[in-house]
């Protein structure tokens, strides 16, 4: 919702010298080179890289252009509005919790309220079929992304340990690791050490020292409510303003409802709705960077006579094989105060359980984080499904300050039955709601059980008593996976759709497997690689 007091938020068109609250002064209405749908993690990177290369870029974003100082607050309840709150229908054995839990809305997308944990995938993540006989191999390898991981981490000054013991990248990170830690991160590291588990200070897209005119983090703990001091990276404060300086135009508060194609089967632009009125944006290239649920929804809804099953869907894979991470939490109670509200939520991490270990009875693995929590999040999660209520809940929450918490980020194997389809019910734009179906598989459940047992052990080793285990998921990936085979994937290894050469997909929806760690470094590295590809192809007039 636009904030009427604010000069940034209540405008709809944002370009280098102008902000307008109507759509009569658009910069590239008829001659944009690139139209990007969604100004989140991937959309932000693409907007920046492509405008820097001289292309005329328009970014259309469904939500507002937030002003952190006047729109964000140190408050959980009011900041749920940073999430995509519009209703989606859910089903399956393990129906997903969406909204603030995993989907962002507004310039910055999920990065405005993400936790800032910034990890790379491991080599094995791109080869799960060859190595472990599960999931599917990606059409690219770790080496293809490595230079882009380097670039993104440098661009936003990721802070992290001198030595990172897992995967292929061992540090050092561009900026030193964060200090001081929170008590919750300290007890996690104590527990790990007692058990011989290696742990590190988490690599974070959060300043450990001043960078690019932004101050270091002040440990206030509200990363999931939007960072008021701008210490945490988001594309809202990093890539988008820079893209605007390079000539890009951002159209906010505007929902893209249709992708247009011509008789040659190429994309010509998009239709979007701003304050109830419909507009068109023409472009030579369209990039869908609108996340795991909305990208398939838009492709399916854009079906026409030539593409009756939806755009880019000759394989039938649009919407299929979406994956969250399993993200169960274990709360343990300690004799001393931990105060979960203090400090950046995730400050310590282990990936000792990341790779497949055949003795464990399941394929693939997971990351564990020491993970802070504010009261609403904790009370909602321990009371979920009315497991705890009345005096039991109230008593537990009176001890709020004595709890510590560890959270799982577990790999979930792709299953085509877990998917996004169109529902009967329509929204305010007359678009069918997304129907999101999800059930865990056997391997996923065994992984969760193993991780919960480990989290319990760590809490005990640190002197705590495990008290509550809550089932939860985090992040979303897949739904428009990349691949070499046009029959079983939606795009090639650059995100270019197999069916329509000037239509691209970017962002988390491209993921072939989920990996066992937080995804956004990979989302942004993939986007930077797509940007290079588009620039190259444009130079050679191939797009």
């Amino acid at each position: 919702m636009a904030n009427s007091r604010d000069t940034v938020t209540h405008h709809a068109v944002h370009s280098q010298d102008h902000r307008h609250n109507d759509l009569n002064h658009r910069k590239y209405e008829d001659d944009a080179d690139v139209c990007i749908v969604g100004a989140g993690a991937a959309g932000g990177v693409l907007a920046y890289e492509l405008s820097k290369s001289g292309l005329k870029v328009v970014i259309i974003e469904a939500g507002p252009f937030w002003n952190p100082q006047t729109d964000f607050a140190s408050d959980e309840l009011s900041m749920t509005r940073l999430g995509w709150q519009d209703t989606r229908l859910v089903s399956g054995n393990d129906p997903l919790q969406l909204g603030h839990n995993n989907s962002g809305k507004g310039v910055g997308g999920g990065t405005t309220h993400f936790t800032g944990v910034f990890l790379r995938f491991h080599e094995s993540d791109f080869r799960t079929r060859s190595e472990d006989g599960v999931g599917e191999d990606w059409p690219i390898r770790y080496e293809d992304l490595a230079p882009y991981y380097d670039k993104i981490e440098k661009d936003i000054a990721v802070s992290g340990p001198k030595h990172f013991p897992w995967g292929s990248f061992h540090g050092p990170y561009p900026y030193p690791e964060r200090e001081p830690l929170s008590a919750n991160a300290e007890i996690f590291r104590i527990g790990c050490e007692k058990l011989g588990i290696r742990s590190v200070v988490a690599p974070l897209a959060i300043n450990s020292a001043p960078f690019d005119g932004r101050p270091p983090c002040i440990n206030r703990g509200f990363c999931n409510q939007g960072c008021l001091p701008n210490a945490k990276f988001s594309t809202l404060i990093h890539h988008i303003p820079k893209a605007i300086q390079h000539g890009a135009e951002v159209i906010s508060d505007s929902m893209v409802t249709q992708i247009q194609t011509n008789e040659d089967g190429r994309v010509t632009g998009v239709t979007f709705v701003h304050e109830g009125k419909t507009y068109k944006q023409k472009a030579r290239i369209v990039i869908l960077a609108n996340f795991v649920v909305e990208t398939p929804r838009l492709l399916l809804h854009s079906a026409n006579a030539r593409f009756p099953d939806g755009l880019a869907n000759s394989s039938g894979w649009v919407g299929k094989a979406i994956m969250p991470h399993s993200s169960n939490d274990v709360y343990g109670i300690f004799p001393e105060e931990i105060r979960l509200y203090k400090g950046t939520p995730v400050l310590a991490t282990t990936q000792d359980f990341y790779e497949t270990d055949s003795t464990r009875g399941f394929a693939r693995g997971y990351t564990l984080h020491a993970h802070g929590s504010r009261p609403v999040e904790m009370a909602k999660s321990i009371s979920k499904g009315a497991k705890l209520w009345g005096s039991d809940l109230r008593k537990a929450m009176l001890d709020y300050n004595f709890y510590g918490r560890i959270t799982l980020v577990g790999e979930v194997l792709p299953d085509p039955a877990n998917r996004v389809t169109l529902a009967e019910e329509k929204d305010e734009y007359d678009m069918p709601l997304a129907h999101v179906s999800f059930s865990y598989g056997e391997n996923d459940k065994r992984l969760i059980n193993h991780a919960v047992a480990k989290m319990n052990e760590i809490i005990q080793a640190a002197g705590g008593i495990p008290a509550f285990v809550t089932d939860d998921t985090a992040h979303l990936m897949g739904g428009c996976r990349m691949g070499n085979d046009p029959q079983t994937s939606v795009t090639n290894g650059y995100g270019q759709t197999h069916d329509i050469p000037n239509l691209f997909v970017a962002g988390a929806s491209l993921f072939v497997t989920s990996g066992g760690g937080n995804p956004t470094n990979t989302v942004m590295a993939l986007a930077a690689r797509t940007a290079d590809y588009i620039v190259e192809q444009s130079k050679r007039q191939e797009l």
């Binding site: 100082q69 964000f72 140190s74 603030h100 203090k342 009345g390 005096s391």
Partner: protein, 202 residues
Amino acid sequence: MPEYEPHYPRFDVMREEENWDPHTREIVTKRLKNESFYPYRYLTQHEGDTLFRLCAILLDDARSPVLAYVVFHFDSTLQAGIGEAQRKIGVPKQSELIRDGLALLDQVCTERHGNRFISMEESDQRRFVGQLVRGEIGLSSGGRQVPVREWINKILTEAVAAYYSHPSIWSEIGYAGPAYPRGYVRSELGLTDPWEARRDGK
């Protein structure tokens, strides 16, 4: 109701409001302005009263200023008509679910206890809510029904979100609340910044 013994009986998070950024202060102080909660914009008075009792039992706290805010949260959420983020297939829309569930609650209570929910004895109310939570009683009457688990979970989740957003509850549990612009300097084990709740009396 059991006796509760908070660890920080003298801590008051509002003592620090001058140190919060204006946007946060505005949001949080509104939760204390009980007179601004009425009249309800979506709920009827009776629905509001019923939610009040129901939430008092689900949260095991009947203190009026806090509960009034919890009910106001329902009223403003339903009035705003913002999305539900997710809704299970087959479950009615949030507004219908809550409203129809409250109506059916009264009907089932009348059939079983001869009274609408708010007019029942408190002990009967408590027993009844326990049975609803455990799924021992359905909410159906006269050919109409509401999925009772979904209904009670929705009410509990929203009630919990509002209750643990109230500054009086923050004070009670020793949560130091908003933290901008000052942040935390002493974040490590055993350390507290001067404005945080301390067991030794602050």
